[in-house]
Every structure is written in structure tokens, then in C-alpha cells.
Symmetry: C2
Subunit: 337 residues, 2 copies
Amino acid sequence: MSDDQSKTTHRPRRVTAQTVAEAAGVSRSAVSRAFTPGAYLDAGKRKKIHEVAASMGYQPNALAAGLKGGRSHLVAVFVGNMRSAYDTEFVMALVGKLNALNKWPILIDGADQTTEQAIQQVLRYPLDALILRGGSMQSEIVTHCSKIGVPMISTGRIVEARGVDNVCCRNADGTGLATTTLIQAGRTRFGFIGGPAQFFSSVGRRQGVESALSKAGLQLVAQADGDFTVDTGFKVATALLKKHSLDALVCANDATAIGALAAARDLGIAVPEALSVVGFDDIEMAGWPSFDLSTVCNPIDDAVERVIGLLEQRLANPSKPSETVLIDPYFVPRGTH
Amino acid sequence: MSDDQSKTTHRPRRVTAQTVAEAAGVSRSAVSRAFTPGAYLDAGKRKKIHEVAASMGYQPNALAAGLKGGRSHLVAVFVGNMRSAYDTEFVMALVGKLNALNKWPILIDGADQTTEQAIQQVLRYPLDALILRGGSMQSEIVTHCSKIGVPMISTGRIVEARGVDNVCCRNADGTGLATTTLIQAGRTRFGFIGGPAQFFSSVGRRQGVESALSKAGLQLVAQADGDFTVDTGFKVATALLKKHSLDALVCANDATAIGALAAARDLGIAVPEALSVVGFDDIEMAGWPSFDLSTVCNPIDDAVERVIGLLEQRLANPSKPSETVLIDPYFVPRGTH
DNA sequence: CCCGTATCTGCCCACGTGTGCACATCATGT
DNA sequence: ACATGATGTGCACACGTGGGCAGATACGGG
């Protein structure tokens, strides 16, 4: 009796197909077939099974199903910087799309110190894919995933490796576009505030500014590195604007630009009359009335759609050659230029 | 031969313990033990196995392990509103903590139309727990989870149901605190902008304002409902400020307050000289130089820590009675009051 | 030499499912 | 009546792992 009690109360064991089969008076196979679209099963029996299953709260165990060799429907999503508004907007959009596809995103914080260990642990699941959003993934991990056959899709940073698909914005084109627009409006004394020096996107965006200026016979008056945050944008822009006389400030992302706007206001520099400020990404808050920031749209919906598309193609054909999709950014004129 | 080829190339099958065992010249059990801390195994043999495993990229399959009856280490996280800055900050913090615990968060977008279906699908996995962040979860789903024995932890909204632990902010205390502070500073003509009318947190926060005013012999001059976004905050605040002469505006969250700040500025109302504006949550951007918003901190780290604590307790003792943990908010004085 | 003990290892079962295969049932055409 | 095809169903296996159980080996004491 003590045994019975411990069995029935201590472990409220999950209801299984066998239990449902007994309750419905059919074989376990029939239950399995009842939940498999396209399987041969008498319509009446299928209905009966579904009723019994619903009353007992039965659902086929996805773990067992995934074990059988099919897809696990689990997708790891590695987020380089969870503090960044663009990355979070991106991830949230991606999560919605994956949910709609019945793929289950496991989120991993890439900024944490224990990330490498976490990735190792999560790779114990037979993942359908690993999606990288920005960040600086250890190449060791990429090699590992490639070895165990987990397809990877990188976005925001191009990873040149076997089995890695890429979706990335034409960063240089984006800042080039913005710079050209400002030049045509008569700006000549340009400053640029980047992200961390080695960051993929920061490098591309800087090049875009320099090359557009160079085509017009101009060059950067001043530049500095930030870290993609508002606070640092504020500090770096303050220092830059105090030291140099600029009439245009191109920032590597919107957060930096928003910091720069506050800096200009505090220094009494009129935007956009005396100074144009443009950002990059077009995060939601760039359009808020408080900022009304002119920026370069790094279209999230496009990118997410392409990521999803690549994922589907990859799952349909695992040996498909790797692909790199480039997304076209476009200038969004608002009130700061 | 064609068979061989299809086996070796078409399906790059996952490397299994059996393969490693053969390569290392040991039994499959030995491989399993090599990855099980505390299991009897010759130290040298364990080392050898680890080396071989590393070279082949072997990791024990977590699906199979979870199937065996232990924990799956998967935790579903249901996010009511992915567009809300507070919710995203909360989720990101939660994700980091779960990662550190080797629990794998599966994110589900609660705002999507297909949410109910998605939840049903994800419940096919034997989840360790389901964490609800805000939103209005169908009670049907709560009942279902309770039936199949998946523990739930709700945060941001108190769910009274069997098997649901709660972590929630003392919303009324928070706005009460802010209101009292403004009264002591001499404010008398109060307005309040809430969230959607039926929202749990909005109701509590409104009550806090009304009760604090009532204690001081005052009452609300004007109030309206928003939807917790900046844009709507701007519109609603504009309407409110045009119609009524207020000297204090309490907003149900920071986004609404940020919209209200822009509205006041556009209407030429000086903040904080002629009007105090306070928000709720203390999201990161409330502290940005552009806003410098006085607000009520709804401490994320505290709440996440309590959620994690409840999760650990629940896993250690599944029959532990449900618990409701209340978090104390506190006023954060900045530049808008 | 024998026995007890401590340490190590292999066999085998259970976990819950999907599905190939063989078989059963039944309607239909000749 | 019999062959044939269509439709439905149960058996049994495989998926990859953890761990219980018993057997093997080594070692030391009597």
C-alpha cells in the first residue's frame, strides 16, 4: 500500500498512449495513428480516441517522437546582445514566426560568461537548427555544430564556414545612402560614431560613410567608437561635439544616435538646423515623437522572412550548399536631418 | 551500394553512444557511465572515452535521457506582450538565469493569434514548468497544464488556480507611493492614464492612486485608458492635457509616461515645473538622458530571482502547496517630478 | 588455499512513440 | 463460389539512453 501510494501520488506520471488505448478499448497503435494525419484509421474510431484523449489530457510525447529519428522541432536561438533594442525586436519577430511554424525556439543569452558552456549543453538536444543573432560566436562552436550536422543560420554577421547560411544587411550601402543624402543637403563636416571596434556591422557601416564621403571629395572630420548603447552614445557624442565643429553625425546604430541627440541638446546645438544626426536600424523608438530620428532601416521583417525561408530550405534539403542573403537597407527621413 | 550511399550521405545520422563505444573498445554502458557523474568507472577508461567522444563530437542525446523519466530541462516561457519594453527586459533576464541553471527556455509569443494552438503543441514536450509573463492566458490552458501535471509560475498577473505559483508586484503600493510623494510636493490636480481596462496591473495601479488621493482628501481630476505603448500614451496624454488643467500625471507604465512627456513638451507645458509626470516599471530607458523619468521601480532582478527560487522548490517538491510572492516596488526620483 | 569485500563492467530492460509488415475483413466483379 | 483489390488493424521493432542487477576481477586477511 505504501508502494501504491508513492506510485500514484508522488509521481503523477504522464498519461501515455497505452493508457488511452485501454480506456478506449483499442490498440496502442490505433492511438498513435489517431494523432498521425494521413494514417489509415476508421473515422469513428479516430473520433472516439480523440474524445477519450481529450478527457484524459493526452498528447503524444514530443520527446519520444523526436527520438524516433524525425525532427525534434527544437531550434536554438543564440542572441549576441540581449540588451540591444534591435536584437530584441529581431528575436521577438523571429520567435513569432517560428511559433507559427511549430518550431520551438530555445533562447540562449550570448552575453553571459557561461555562454559557451550553455551552448555545449543545449547541443545535447538534437536541434533542427541553430540561429545566430549577431554576437561573436566562438568559431570552435561553429566547427562543432558543423561536425554534428546541426545547420546554422547566422544573421547580422557573416560567418564563413561549412553549413552556415547567412542573412545580413548591406551595411555599407545603408550608411552610404544616408551619407549621400546629407551631402546633397549641403553637409560637409561629418563625424561617425561606431560600435565596438571589431564588430562586423560597425566595420561595414564605417566603410559606407568613408566611401560615400570619398566619392564627394570629402573625408571624416572626426570619429570614435562606442558600444551601441544610449549612455555611451551620449558620452562619446558629447566629447566629439565639444572638440570638433560638425554639421553631420552618422551613428552606427539608433541607440547611439539617440544618445547623440541628447548630447546635442545639452550642448545647445540645434538639430537639425545646425547638425544632422542619423542612426541605423530603425528600431521602433526611432519613430517615437520624442526622437523622430532620421535613420537607415535595417528591415527586420525582411530579414526574419529570409531566415525562415533558409531554414525551411535547409530542412527540406540538408545537403543544399550554403547561401548568403543580403538585405537592402533604405533611408528613413524624419526630423533630425 | 546505392543503399550504402543513401545511408552515409543522405542522412548524416547523429553519432551515438554505441559508435563511441566501438571506437573506444568499451561497452556502450561504459560510455553512458563516462558521462554520468558519480558512476563507477575506471578513471583511465573514462578519460579515454571522453577523448574519443570529443574527437567524434559525441554528446549524450538529451531527448533520450529526458524520455527515461527524468527531467526534460525544458521550460516554456509564455510572453504576453513581446512589444513591451518591460516584458522583454524581464524575459531576457529570466532567460539568462535559466541558462545558468541548465534549463532551456522555449519562448512563446502570447500576442499572436495562434497562441492557443502553439501552447497546445509545445505541451507535447514533457516540460519541467511553464512560466507566464503577463498577458491573459486562457483559463482553459491553465486547467490543462494542471491536469497533466506541468507546474506553472505566473508573474505580473496573479492566477488563482491549483498548481500555479505567483510572483507579482504590489502594484497599488507602487502608485500609492508615487502619488503620496507628489502630494507632499504640493500637487493637487491629478490625472491617471492606465493600460487596457481589464488588465490586472492597470487595475491595481489605478487603485493605488485613488486610495492615496482619497487619504489626502483629494480625488482624480481626469483619467483615461491607454494600451501601455508610447504612441498611445502620447495621444491620450495630449487629449487629457488639452481638456484638463493638471499638475500631476501618473501613468500605468513607463512607455505611457514617455509618450506623455512628449505630449507635454508639444503643448508647451513645462515638466517638472508646471506638471509632474511619473511612470511605472523603471525600464532601462527611463534613466536615459533624454527622459530622466521619475518612476516606480518594479524590480526585475528581484522578481526573476523569486521565480527561479519557486521553480527550484517546485521541482524539488512537486506537491508543495502553491505560493504567492509579492514584490515591493519603490519610488525612483529623477527629473520629472 | 579459501573467503569476504571492494571495485568495476556488461547485459538487459524501460522510457513512449511511429511505422513497416503481415494479416484480417469486406465489398465487388466474374 | 472464388479471386481480387481496398481498407483497416495489431505485432513488433527501432530510436538512444540511464540504471538495476548480477557477474567478474582484484586484493587482502585468515
